[in-house]
């Protein structure tokens, strides 16, 4: 095992270099095309195509007696494309829906392939070992000639992709716009499908028909978590794919009994899981943190508002006891204390003898929150015929979200339509604001 690993690391063996380069090509082309396949909602069509390639491999062998890769891939391409055409025909001409059509083509073609493979094996006209690597893939079997074929195909795929990048991009985001520019979306779609087919062919020997679809789907979905831009997504997916190819091949070389395809897929899945957890904006972790941040901000704003409303209600400016705030906010004293400490750190409140008072900055922020809250209450009250007793709760939620622009508009509307002087909406020195509605008392 160690020997194997060493042989790999040093790249001394020419064969090892071929295998690695091959895996890199497979992963990278898979990632490139996969991005388009996934965004165009063709991911499982790739799966159907791959499964449908199997009988082509077997028939090409039966027909020519040759196991040369170009011959087998030609057969695979023909039967794969035939499968996709049949699928499209079923969808267009019968009431069978797309999902069942994919399932039918995938499983029936695969069944035919299995019958042919077992037939070849048992009639002993040649041993099957050359062909059954097409099921789950055997990267170690790649030789120089295979690599040449794969390189040519990969080169072709990349060339076409570069030439038609902007058309493919338009096809994904706005097909009708593409059509209005005079392009035939149908032919661009066919071209994309053709490229997906070629990509499947590149990976067929090393990954196998059963799992090659994952090399299209998984790296692309992983890349999607990191970026909103297509070019970046495509490159990132290619990188994930290439890395999965190389790492997968390396791991499976340590235990030759395990086929390469599944290992590559598991490595790609690892990248997917890592991306889903850690990606900066869309990742699970980032979302969790953001949610926590929002909740904290909401609680803090409630605290500030409570201070101001107490001041307004009791017409006195002083430090508030935790118990007073707890009643006003409807929270437990412990929670109030915790929020107060956070605000103290932020410099918005002062704490003295277990009592809290607003700082200059705290007052300013608090006034903004109260104003948002009241403006919104008024808006709901006047515009929606709500009863005064339940405008408060929705305002509780909305106050944290109103942007300064919305506030300005609200002020305009209320001033114009209701003659409300929004400067008077908070009254810290009287016995509560005449504009205060609702409330929890």
């Amino acid at each position: 095992m160690l020997e194997n690993a060493l042989r790999f690391m040093t790249l001394a063996d020419a064969n090892v270099r071929f295998v690695l380069l091959g895996s890199l090509l497979i992963g990278a082309t898979g990632g490139l095309l996969g991005s388009f396949a996934v965004l165009r909602r063709r991911s499982l069509v790739g799966d159907a195509l791959a499964h449908a390639a199997l009988p082509g491999v077997a028939l090409a062998y039966l027909w020519t007696g040759s196991k040369a890769l170009p011959v087998l891939l030609a057969g695979a391409t023909v039967s794969g494309v035939l499968g996709v055409l049949l699928m499209q025909f079923i969808i267009n001409f019968t009431r069978i829906k797309a999902d069942a059509a994919i399932g039918i083509v995938l499983s029936v073609f695969f069944g035919i392939g299995i019958v042919l493979l077992t037939h070849i094996q048992r009639t002993g006209s040649g041993n099957q070992s050359g062909l059954d690597k097409f099921l789950f893939g055997q990267a170690a079997s790649l030789v120089e000639d295979d690599l040449k074929v794969m390189s040519v195909l990969a080169g072709l795929i990349i060339l076409v992709l570069v030439l038609f990048f902007k058309e493919f991009k338009a096809l994904i985001f706005d097909p009708s716009f593409l059509q209005s520019l005079g392009y035939s979306t149908r032919w661009i779609d066919v071209l994309l499908m053709g490229l997906i087919a070629l990509t499947v062919m590149v990976g067929l020997q090393a990954v196998g028909v059963v799992l090659i679809a994952a090399m299209l789907i998984t790296p692309a979905v992983a890349a999607r978590f990191w970026t909103e831009q297509l070019n970046k997504m495509v490159l990132l997916a290619a990188a994930f794919g290439g890395a999965s190819g190389i790492v997968g091949t390396f791991i499976s070389s340590l235990a030759p009994r395990i086929p390469t395809g599944p290992v590559m897929v598991l490595v790609a899945t690892f990248f997917f899981v890592v991306s889903a957890l850690l990606a900066p904006k869309r990742g699970v972790l980032a979302r969790g943190l953001r949610r926590q941040h929002n909740a904290r901000r909401e609680a803090q704003q409630h605290f500030l508002r409570a201070c101001i409303e107490l001041q307004e209600k009791l017409a006195q400016q002083r430090a508030w006891a935790i118990e007073e705030l707890a009643i006003e906010m409807g929270h437990s004293p412990d929670k109030v204390k915790r929020i107060g400490r956070q605000l103290e750190k932020a410099g918005l409140v002062l704490r003295q003898d277990g009592r809290f008072s607003l700082t200059e900055a705290g007052l300013e922020e608090g006034l903004f929150v109260v104003k948002s809250h009241r403006l919104w209450e008024h808006y709901l009250y006047y515009r929606t015929i709500l009863d005064a007793d339940h405008v408060d709760r929705p305002a509780d939620e909305v106050e944290h979200l109103l942007t300064p622009e919305i506030i300005v508009r609200l002020e305009e509307i209320l001033a114009r339509e209701r003659g409300i002087d929004t400067e008077q909406i908070i009254n810290l020195h009287g016995t509560g604001s005449q504009y205060r509605r609702g409330g929890r008392e």
Binding site: A286, N294, W376, R383, T384, I385, L386, R393, L401, I406
Partner: protein, 258 residues
Amino acid sequence: MSQNTHPIQIHDMTIAYHKKPVLWDVDLDVPEGQLVGIIGPNGAGKSTMIKAIMDLVPKASGWVKIYGKDYGEMRKIIGYVPQRESVDWDFPISALDVVLMGRYGHIGWMRRPGKEDRCIARESLDKVGMGDFAERQISQLSGGQQQRVFLARALAQDARIYMMDEPFAGVDAATERAIIDILVTLREQGKTILVVHHDLQTVTEYFNWVIMLNMRVVASGLTREVFTDENLQKTYGGRLTVLSQAAQAMAEQRRGDR
């Protein structure tokens, strides 16, 4: 009539899809025996409201009472006609089968529809003028006929309250007439019918009660009283940008919360 015997009472109900509020703070009391039109522009929350009454979408806040009780206890007395596009009309069943589904709520788990249920289903089909099409597979019916089958299914539910989601969308004039005749008959029998409706021209002719919606209830009451230019202007005037801006802000802020 005392307050809690109203067929439908909604209190302070807010509905949000993906955290984005689509209906704010609805308060409604619908009295018995009314043929009610629910009108409003696209995206005003019309379908959402009847789905929320039937617990098909979750409520962010508020409650709904049916004759003073929770929906779960009263579901047998509510008949539902969803939008025609909401189902797959290629499904391999006959018109009669669809209508029989109206009886499922009365039959209970694991039991089969009996002779009486079949009888009711046939009668319902006859009432909508589709008696001759009972055995016809549903994809072979025209749009108007499909809508009538849906109506027959609701009739078979033998309900006291009916909820209909755009029953007049994409049907021919004859079907529209037939449907409205049946609705009027139902109202005369004292049933309460809520209909999501698009065509402002026919509101006064069809409905004696109207609910005008645009993300919140603009007006609700007797058609002759509330179906006014002022309320129409409020409903369709598009001056609710602040409400939808706030909804958008909520959706964006909370997107990370999921």
